[in-house]
Symmetry: C2
Subunit: 507 residues, 2 copies
């Protein structure tokens, strides 16, 4: 970034701060002096970084929530904000799994090991504590995680794929995001001719990727998913995008999100085979973001590892999984794993060494993951309840996946692909020309303007498509399918009314 | 790093892998192909990074533990490994605080809110859940943490310093390490003449700093602590080191660890005043690593924030605190905070934006921190027990601080400064010339050789001084004071015997 573009960026950030009523000096800490650390001398990658899922719309949603609280809900035509912007299951009313929470409680307060909890709960907690230093979840684990939980994770993967998984290739991470960030950091170099490392990401993408790529000074290679074909991924587009990027970077990583976020698509087996062959030809490391592997509403989930094994292709693959999604939705516990497949052992050692500087991930998060990769087995005391809770969550999500897509498709000017997987719809919207003009006057992207109007008048918080990337001239938004059934039905009605009104107002 | 030095480094890493019996190909994942990702093309900063606290000695300790398990302890002249290498309190037998664990259990399994726990436990869990999405610890918190816990942290700081703390300047982090790493990343830039950002770190230092500085491609500016004067810090040495480093980097950050890790020293108020004035003159941001603020055995703790306030000096300060140390020792829960003082609000916004890409820290870790910054108050049901547990831990640690220093000083050839704070001693050892030669033959640092011999023959695992930095030609090691009293007394006896034997064998 040269000096003048840095100044432009810094100025626009100051502008953003002003619009958030932060002021450029003094409101929070009363500084009237010349600061040492300013927008002009901090990490420019941090300035560039954007993370739409938690951007200005979310901040505004929080303000409205506080306003509603103060005025007891009377100041607006709605009583509460609907946070459809983020895949935060419990915040939207999903109940936690009883078994998982009981094991956590038992492992935390060991007096409960002598209490009335089911036998398999107590046995699990005891087993896990055997592998914790001093039998306490307050001890550090190995940087890669508690050994028995790594082994249970390997067993889970082996059973899922019918392909052996080695527990020593698995590291337990703070959600899936830490694993993704660590793998990107591992391969991040600048070539001798000063080209950054290139990372292929889908458009639309989950903004964790673009944010991390910015933060690390890497180069994003955007490949477009095909909206007209259920957001599928075709390898001609991979080829087009990598060829175009070669003079700007050294392509190193191919990121695949399957099931798709924000698209809700599920890759076919044929698709995955083509992608693996492409990555092999181009000598790319694949990051397979497979955190939604339990959220399949239509089609079938195939892991990259299994397909790669069946193809007898051996290239580096990092597959990530999380306790935050699926049917458990334990986002706040920050459990996850990353499996490194086909890595040179010496490189793997470097990866483990790098992770050691952050000590370890939350041991309770690791225990939550354990309950997911090794749920109660048939015949065990907690089995029936676990299965019941799991299938209730999954069948409700399946119903909502259909409801959301169908409702959007019933609204003139909105069209949605099938929500075949994950927890999101990413519909396309026609925004009237007058609204596009109004947005330009307010220096907002048209879909940001749309989303802000929706939030202000209905309390529904979504994320504009510009936060994920979209074809120029098209507009989208991402909504989760997480509000409970009655709330979601109500939300879809309100959304329909809003859109009709919005189009009328801007025609 | 040029191509040839990169090759040397890669070769030595391969050597290290071989000595760990990993092999350079195939043992873990059976790769016989040419790998895409190799030591020759990964992030060179990751290759350079070292993190001694979890290095080869710790790996060897784990192997010996497994060996003892298999042979039922009979294969060695000791029955178990004593992990004195890491400040991992519970692993060394310290018991968790009852109040803290009960609040965590209650917040996790909400059925316990109707059970027999003390009223203040249930009230606290209820209060915190009110601030969690869907009243679940499974929801994401704001990236900066749960609002009420940020407020309680601010109240704690205000009470500690008698200086106002604004909760909006506090972010809740995954232990203290995440906050430190984020602040370093925030200010990490390369100047127009290609100089990296310089970070002043004490020698000896906690290797998280050197590891992170390597990983981020920053430049370490080593300033030496004065061993002959209780590891105190003098500003002439700060001046010497920064002046020497100016042609290699742009100095930006001054890191202070107080109480000291690994030195066990506690800075005087006068010392802190001088340091702040130095930082002001040099336009440096101060990172005050104050995670041991409750671990004071001699002297008094003054926070950098308070002293800075009293001096009426306003420069940027980031102070970090952790749930892992003090009297609670909850390392595995990964709770911590970072307070930003005197930051330009626009820069603070950038910091928060950067943190948003990792979503949030563990909500249960945040709750653990809450119990520490807001312990039960006089008159509340859990107060007496909390105070009792707290003072028992602290008085045992105080006893051990004295015991360790006294015993080392009673051994000819070992001398230790007072352990005035934190959880470590960092004694100097005379290593006989013959041992230095033997170490050289084995391509080991002399103090690494000493530590490995200690481990193999006694099961005591310490960290050699070379992992923290020391004056050339001097040798040290770090040991924690964490083994329980009887175990520590036994360990000190065994240590004394070992040292005598080691000197005899190498004379």
């Amino acid at each position: 970034m040269n000096a003048s573009s840095r100044k432009v960026l810094a100025a626009s950030c100051k502008q953003a701060c002003r619009s958030l009523k932060i002021g450029s000096r003094g409101i929070y800490c009363g500084v009237a002096r010349q600061a040492n650390v300013t927008l002009d001398n901090i990490n420019e990658n941090v300035i560039k970084l954007e993370y739409a899922v938690r951007g200005p719309l979310v901040i505004r949603a929080g303000e409205i929530e506080r306003e509603l609280k103060v005025n007891n809900g009377s100041s607006r035509p709605f009583a509460s904000v609907t946070r459809a912007n983020i895949g935060d299951c419990h915040a939207m009313g999903q109940k936690p799994l009883t078994f998982l929470r009981q094991v956590l409680a038992c492992a935390t307060d060991n007096d409960l090991l002598n209490g009335p909890y089911p036998g398999d709960v107590k046995a699990r907690a005891k087993e896990l504590l055997e592998y914790c230093g001093g039998q306490s979840v307050g001890s550090y684990s190995d940087s890669a995680g508690v050994e028995i939980i790594r082994k249970h994770s390997a067993d889970y993967i082996t059973a899922r794929d019918g392909v052996d998984s080695d527990w020593q290739n698995i590291v337990l991470t703070t959600g899936a995001s830490e694993g993704i960030r660590a793998v990107l950091s591992l391969v991040n170099t600048t070539s001798t001719d000063d080209k950054p490392s290139g990372v292929m990401i889908p458009i639309p993408q989950y903004p964790l990727y673009s944010a991390t790529i910015s933060e690390y000074g890497m180069h994003p290679i955007n490949y477009y998913l095909d909206e007209s074909n259920q957001w599928s991924l075709n390898t001609d587009e991979l080829k087009r995008s990598i060829d175009k990027a070669r003079d700007k970077c050294v392509p190193k990583v191919l990121v695949i999100i399957n099931p798709g976020n924000p698209t809700g698509s599920v890759l076919t087996r044929q698709n995955i085979e083509d992608i693996i062959k492409f990555a092999k030809n181009e000598n790319l490391l694949i990051i397979a973001d497979e955190v939604y592997q339990h959220n399949i509403w239509d089609g079938e989930f195939f892991s990259f590892k299994k397909v790669m094994h069946d193809l007898k292709i051996e290239i580096e693959l990092a597959s990530v999984m999380s306790a935050s999604k699926g049917y458990m939705g334990e986002c706040g516990l920050r459990g996850g794993y990353c499996e490194l497949v086909n890595f040179d052992p010496a490189v793997k050692q470097m990866f483990l060494k790098m992770l050691s500087a952050r000590l370890c991930s939350s041991v309770l998060g690791q225990i939550a993951l354990d309950c997911i990769v090794k749920p109660p087995q048939k015949g065990e005391e907690s089995y029936d309840l676990y299965e019941k809770e799991k299938s209730e969550v999954l069948s409700a999500l399946k119903y909502r996946a259909q409801l959301v897509a169908d409702t959007f498709n019933s609204i003139p000017g909105i069209s949605s692909n099938k929500v075949a997987g994950a927890m999101y719809a990413f519909p396309k919207i026609d925004i009237p020309r007058k609204a596009v003009k109004k947005a330009a006057e307010m220096k907002q992207a048209p879909d940001f303007y749309y989303a802000m109007q929706l939030l202000e008048s209905t309390g529904i918080c979504i994320v504009p498509g510009s936060g994920f990337g979209q074809l120029p001239g098209t507009y989208h938004f991402r909504t989760t399918i997480l509000p409970q059934n009655d709330k979601l039905e109500q939300m879809m009605k309100v959304f329909k009314d809003f859109h009709t009104r919005f189009v009328q107002q801007h025609s």
